[in-house]
């Protein structure tokens, strides 16, 4: 899969309400390129509800249903049931929610839909904050990160949503990042070809939320994977595979960079470096990542 093979069709129209350098629109463009026009999207309250722009206009060229914050997966289940009743199996139902609507508010509806075996794709674009309402802390916010509700830095570590999803033993679950368009595209295509509930999580580095320059969006995602703070994997019928750079890191073919390389460019971690280095918390962040990879190695490397 090369960049030249991506379709030209744009389902997300220009002149939408996203911030400059928005990772969600990079993700949306790639996802909609993979899904094509035979798609119904269910969008709860998240940044994308804003990106759709103002009534009576929308910047989406595919049908989109807006729904309450906690109900993305439940709404998608309803849409899927209606399509099934009409005998229209050629249409993909996609729930597109942010990390707030997945990790915190929507987890009950999501878990229910996965358990019922609804034939849909749930995509979570994870920018690690409630960016739509003004950068509040979410369950995905990493340790020591500044948000408007955790002014001195968050005191808890983020939860591993991927592992919660894996516990449902669904046909397909994957984790990817907007900085790897080929990886993202192939994962969406694979999810489309599988029947049953599918879950894909996309890391979306948010310039205003993470406090970095808006031209570094893609670079920041790449750095997250290089440092091991984020990993690219897919799990098809309980067979776990790591992809791209994460595979090389897991097999120890490439050295994992220190996580400091990633966080020093983000303003939300600046209180760890100024006025003096907070060695204790920097060490805690690094140890958390080390522990995560140790767990990955223990569980998924065949000896």
């Amino acid at each position: 899969m090369a960049l030249k093979d991506f379709p030209l069709d744009e389902c997300l129209l220009q002149g939408n309400a996203s911030c400059p350098g928005c990772p969600a629109t990079i993700g949306l463009r790639l996802v909609l390129k993979a899904l094509g026009r035979k798609t119904i999207m269910v969008v709860p309250a998240c940044c994308t509800a804003v990106i759709e722009s103002l009534y009576p206009h929308t910047s989406f060229d595919v049908p989109v249903m807006n729904i309450a914050f906690e109900a993305a997966a439940a709404g998608a289940s309803g849409v899927e049931a209606a399509l099934r009743q009409q005998g229209r199996t050629d249409i993909t139902v996609v729930a597109w929610a942010g990390d707030g609507g997945t990790y915190d508010i929507g987890i009950q509806a999501l878990s229910g839909a996965l358990e019922r075996g609804t034939n849909f794709i749930y995509i979570c674009y994870n920018n690690q904050i409630y960016s739509n309402t003004g950068i509040q802390r979410s369950g995905a916010t990493p340790f020591a990160a500044w948000t408007t509700t955790t002014v001195g830095g968050k005191t808890e570590f983020r939860k591993e949503m991927g592992e919660i999803i894996l516990a449902h033993h669904i046909p397909y679950a994957a984790q990817t990042c907007i900085s790897y368009p080929e990886d993202l595209y192939c994962k969406i295509k694979k999810a489309m070809s599988i029947k049953g509930p599918k879950y894909i999580e996309i890391l979306a580095p948010c310039p205003p939320g993470w406090r970095f320059s808006m031209d570094k969006t893609v670079e920041m995602g790449r750095m997250a994977v290089d440092t091991g703070a984020w990993s690219l994997w897919e799990c098809e019928n309980d067979v776990m595979t790591f992809n791209g750079k994460s595979k090389l890191i897991l097999e120890k073919k490439v050295e994992r960079k220190p996580v400091e390389d990633w966080i020093k460019y983000q303003g939300r971690f600046s209180h760890l470096f100024k006025p003096e280095r907070d060695e204790k918390r920097l060490k805690a962040i690094q140890e958390h990542v080390d522990l995560l990879w140790e767990r990955y190695r223990k569980c998924y490397v065949k000896i």
Partner: protein, 91 residues
């Protein structure tokens, strides 16, 4: 465009639903076509979809909607795109 008779509020797709977002721009991307190697990285990573891909895989920038984020300039491996400050708008 086909209109649907439904009771709920319904929005219809429109190019530039928030107007010409090019007016948000502070820095303007300038493409040097001689340096461009047609790798299409700018096209795939443009958050706005403002970089148009032509049939021969060359690219053009749509300044009506480009918000000037600079992702294209940052991702260009051959530095064919540079960011230049917009000239002050004449009143």
């Amino acid at each position: 465009m086909k209109k649907y008779p439904v009771e709920t509020s319904l929005s219809y797709p429109k190019l530039g639903a928030m107007g010409k977002t090019g007016s948000w721009r502070v820095f303007k991307p300038i493409l040097d076509k001689k340096k461009c190697v047609k790798c299409l990285r700018c096209w795939i990573f443009c958050p706005e979809g403002s970089i148009r891909r032509e049939k021969d895989d060359s690219v053009n920038i749509d300044y009506d909607f480009c918000k000037g984020c600079g992702v294209c300039a940052n991702e260009c491996n051959v530095k064919a795109i540079i960011m230049e400050r917009e000239e002050a708008k004449k009143k």
